[in-house]
């Protein structure tokens, strides 16, 4: 079975600093993968290279078999990217925003409309669909951006810190949506600092530091590495990251 994402020997340097260092990563189709790591570990840089926003210095990236570097359009059609601070158009309404995003991915209005309705209703934004996003709260903006990321029904959804700054109710809605997405066969990669979220949602977890993957596996596998069945993800994380930093 083709992997949702295959990254091989991916390297990116900014001047003298190596942000991503010969990274190998495989995300299976239909799984939720959490990428954890301290600030500056290379999580966002990796995701930005997968989306084609940054050109890697070396290595290869394949999204469902499509080469991101040589055939970016085919790869981009299959993925969606939600940055930690998504850019919405202030002067567009939520509905217009979704129409525009659907258009960018080549989805015609007739197909996009029922999908947009479903997403907005699920996220509790249906009543606000004709309001301009300039008046939205952070949570509403985040939900609108998430709906935008899902409007073209991507096979691989990548989210960078999707729960930062959201209140509990909104965070729950986002988590429910991600779980529903995975149940229906979609693949999700998320980076987060909230270890609890990774612990509860992720099928597999990768811990990255200094641009290198320190450890990867299910929670049980990671616990095994940390040498304790009762260890929490926080224990495992701190143990690995502490060792990595040392």
């Amino acid at each position: 079975m083709t992997n949702a994402l295959s990254v091989r020997a991916l390297t990116k340097k900014f001047g003298a600093k190596t942000a991503v260092d010969a990274l190998d990563l495989d995300i299976r189709a239909g799984e939720l993968y959490a990428l954890l790591g301290p600030n500056g570990a290379g999580k966002t840089t990796t995701l930005r290279m997968v989306t084609g926003l940054l050109k890697p210095d070396s290595g290869s990236i394949h999204v469902f078999g499509a080469d991101v570097i040589n055939d970016p359009i085919a790869a981009k059609r299959q993925l969606a990217w939600l940055p930690d601070e998504p850019a919405l158009y202030d002067k567009l309404t939520a509905w217009e925003y979704l129409e525009f995003i659907a258009g960018l991915w080549g989805v015609d209005a007739k197909t996009a409309a029922p999908r947009a309705e479903e997403l907005l209703k699920f996220l509790g934004l249906w009543d606000n669909r004709d309001e301009r996003t300039e008046g939205f709260s952070r949570g509403m903006k985040q939900k609108t951006a998430l709906a935008g990321a899902l409007i073209h029904d991507p096979k691989l959804l990548m989210l960078d810190e999707p729960l930062t700054g959201l209140d509990a109710a909104v965070a729950r809605q986002v988590k429910d949506l991600l779980q529903q997405r995975v149940k229906s066969g979609g693949s999700v990669i998320l980076t987060t600092h909230i270890l609890d979220v990774a612990e509860r949602l992720a099928d597999r977890i990768g811990i990255i530091q200094g641009g290198k993957l320190l450890a990867e596996g299910t929670l049980t596998e990671l616990r095994g590495r940390a040498g304790g069945d009762n260890a929490t993800l926080e224990d495992v994380y701190l143990q690995l990251v502490g060792a990595g930093a040392a």
Binding site: G52, P72, K91, L104, V107
Partner: protein
């Protein structure tokens, strides 16, 4: 081209945003706005009517004088358009936050750049085009068909100015880097835009006789260049004389220049956009404030106060002692003044500009305990006095 993600789809999105931003920028009630636009339309209508009537009485002959005057007017327009386009191009990279969204989508990069630059060209040319069209709509009524080419000539001038601005922006990015490009492009844009105004003011500083001579010299210098019928520089002016071969050549040059510039600009667009997002190479910051930051709490505070005073000189009026205190404290104050609650005094001296930052400073680990000690001491003194 017409479907979702096509050029027209993206262009209509850009135009919608431009229109909504334009509407949001206008303040005032609907009635006031309606009156303003009615007045503007009427003014354009009447102005266009009289201008068209005047022009129709002149038979356009492509001689040096006529070509020179039209060419001069187009050169002024070109400089204004170039200035505006340069500013809009840098703004489109630095201020619009949607680049990540567009570049992460499956829309080809050249299409994103083409649409964005076309929107800039439309933004730049729209004002001038409205003025020209206001005249051109009346021309057929007075038999002034010969002047009808002025509208397409101005439209093409917009494309050409945007192309040159794109090339300039790309060169600036390559030579001085994305961080400096913004400032330099704004300065350059302002200078180009103001060039003719500045040039026209130069003779004012000389005496009357020499002023007239200077004006004559400028006129004599410009007219033969842009008015020479065989010179390529007079092509836009010749194109403005009507629907002729010169207009076709001018159209071909402007469109090809625009497309080539877009293609060249697109080649480095994603790299430049990434660099602007702060993901490119980073230099060590070595400003005075950064040096002060590295050299301790007191230097940081003094540096902060100076910066606030520089940015808002009104603080000096609000607190007349600010300058004197800062001068006294800058590099001379010693923390050793323990007997009179020296540290809290030091903190007070350093916070003359903004009282509200006390909370931030209290949270600062080095100063928090000093401030508390100073406070406790002054409380004790007050208690002693009250007894």
């Amino acid at each position: 081209m017409f479907g979702p993600g096509g050029v027209l789809f993206l262009l209509s999105h850009e135009m919608l945003l431009t229109w909504r931003n334009f509407r949001a920028s206008g303040k005032g009630r609907h009635v006031r706005r309606a009156v303003f636009y009615t007045f503007l339309t009427a003014a354009l209508g009447f102005g266009g009517y009289w201008a068209a009537r005047f022009l129709s009485e002149i038979t356009p002959e492509p001689n040096v004088m006529t070509l020179g005057i039209i060419g001069g007017a187009l050169t002024i327009l070109f400089s204004l358009m170039l200035s505006q386009a340069l500013m809009l191009i840098t703004e489109s990279l630095y201020q619009r936050g949607d680049l990540d969204l567009l570049l992460a989508s499956p829309v080809p990069l050249w299409r994103v750049v083409l649409v964005r630059m076309s929107a800039i060209a439309i933004n730049v040319g729209l004002f001038y085009l409205i003025l020209v069209v206001a005249v051109c709509v009346w021309l057929p009524f007075f038999g002034g068909w010969a002047w009808i080419g002025f509208a397409p000539a101005v439209l093409l001038l917009t494309l050409f100015a945007t192309a040159i601005a794109l090339v300039l922006a790309r060169i600036l990015f390559a030579v001085i880097g994305p961080k400096n490009t913004r400032v330099v492009a704004q300065i350059l844009g302002s200078l180009i835009g103001a060039a003719f105004f500045i040039a026209s003011q130069v003779p004012r500083f000389s005496e009357n006789e020499s002023r007239a001579r200077a004006m004559q010299d400028i006129f004599n210098a410009i007219v033969p260049v842009v008015g020479n019928p065989s010179s390529p520089l007079s092509l836009p002016a010749r194109a403005a004389f009507g629907l002729n071969a010169d207009l076709a050549i001018w159209a071909a040059i402007a469109v090809i220049a625009f497309l080539l510039a877009v293609w060249w600009y697109a080649a480095g667009f994603s790299r430049d956009a990434a660099a602007i997002a702060g993901l490119g190479q980073r230099r060590k910051i070595n400003t005075r404030a950064a040096r002060a930051m590295r050299s301790g709490v007191r230097a940081t505070l003094v540096s902060k106060e100076w910066r606030l005073l520089r940015r808002d000189p009104l603080l000096l009026v609000a607190n007349p002692s600010a300058a004197a205190l800062l001068r006294a404290t800058h590099g001379r104050v010693r923390i050793a003044d323990q007997r009179r609650g020296g540290e809290s005094l030091l903190l007070r001296r350093h916070c003359v500009c903004v009282r509200a930052d006390r909370d931030i400073l209290r949270g600062q680990p080095c100063l928090a305990h000093r401030l508390c000690r100073g406070r406790t001491r002054s409380h004790r003194q007050r208690a002693r006095l009250s007894r």
